[in-house]
């Protein structure tokens, strides 16, 4: 294995590490909400700087590799893809922080109702994040397509959550403030799933080496 191959492996490893951190942040932020645990929420907020540092580190390493190794074709595309992916991962980390912030607020008030669909949304989003990064390191188009397919499940669950929250608000206006915050959590999770979808699209683009992003994928 050449030095450059080894460097690419390390870059891959860093992207995977960042992905694992984000996946854990999503999981923990929703756990903070469901278990009404402020310590967990605070820990998610505190740990976000690690995700941000890794984002900068991966960018730096990518630019260094491009400048020094002058890669062409596939390797160059791989490195620039890593840089694009970390932009999404960084935003996903921010969204997990937003969930943790809403959890801290919601934990101050009585429980509106046990959370059922939100943990489901969280689980699917985590799976999508893992799937998208798996697809990236394995350059596996099929895996990436599977991630994109799951986006609708998250959208459907979000609509269910919003419908139910609206019902609460209309029945009892004193629930409005809590219901609104929970609706934001559902939105954050939907957006996390969108970012995972975005990563999967970038990976398909990388594998295919042609423009598939932003096109109708189901025709494939």
């Amino acid at each position: 294995m050449s030095i450059f191959d080894d460097e690419l492996m390390q870059l891959k490893g860093k992207v995977l590490r960042m992905g694992a951190m984000v996946e854990s942040a999503i999981k923990e932020s929703v756990r903070a909400l469901v278990e009404r645990d402020n310590e967990i929420a605070k820990s998610v907020i505190e740990k976000d700087h690690q995700v941000n540092s890794l984002d900068v580190e991966i960018d730096e390493e990518s630019i260094r590799l491009i400048a020094i190794r002058q890669p062409r074709a596939r390797d160059l595309r791989f490195i620039t893809t890593a840089m694009k992916i970390t932009t999404d991962l960084e935003r996903m980390g921010d969204l997990a922080v937003n969930i943790a912030e809403r959890a801290l607020e919601l934990n101050e008030e009585p429980l509106l109702k046990p959370y059922i669909d939100i943990p489901k949304m969280s689980q699917i989003s985590q799976g999508m994040t893992r799937g998208a990064l798996d697809a990236f390191v394995k350059l596996d188009k099929k895996l990436a397509m599977e991630v994109i397919m799951r986006d609708d499940e998250v959208d459907d669950l979000k609509h269910e959550v919003l419908k139910e929250l609206l019902f609460f608000m209309v029945q009892d206006p004193t629930t409005a403030s809590r219901a609104m915050k929970i609706s934001f959590v559902a939105q954050y999770l939907e957006r996390i799933a969108d970012h995972a979808t975005n990563i999967a699209e970038i990976v398909i683009y990388l594998v295919a080496g042609k423009m598939i992003r932003h096109m109708t994928l189901l025709e494939e």
Copy 2:
């Protein structure tokens, strides 16, 4: 001027064009809401593919330039920055589409109240978007800092909007569905401003050539 300088100018021009499209999409999506005009909303949704095409085009051109010209140092950083920025711009375009979608829904129902803070949020977000891209093409750190400073204004306005909507919901639960949709619009605008901030941070990073992103900027 060398061919490469000319190519860099063209790349810059494309990023600016994409930024202008996104800025217009934000403006028009909120106009569709305020003027209750479905045609404007539909036009925002339809035009989004242009933003997406330009995103792919800029990525392609960037990779081509890196592969063929093998730029070093500042030029390489500039090109990779362009690729990072378009990821944010593309998401901002999606958020404008989300606003247009909520506008279509809200236009079906009676007006809850005239929009005051939402247009303000939109205006500031547009200004931040323009400022961030200006900062990028001029490599102007001060301009970028100004963008970052304005993010708090948008956050404050969002809190005002949410407070007022909550008041409506509690007073009259039949407003809940509309209030929720308007609260989402406020969230989308806040997130657009976040993306503009993100771009400004990337530009500061580019200008300074060192890690400023994700750090306390106000200490500067």
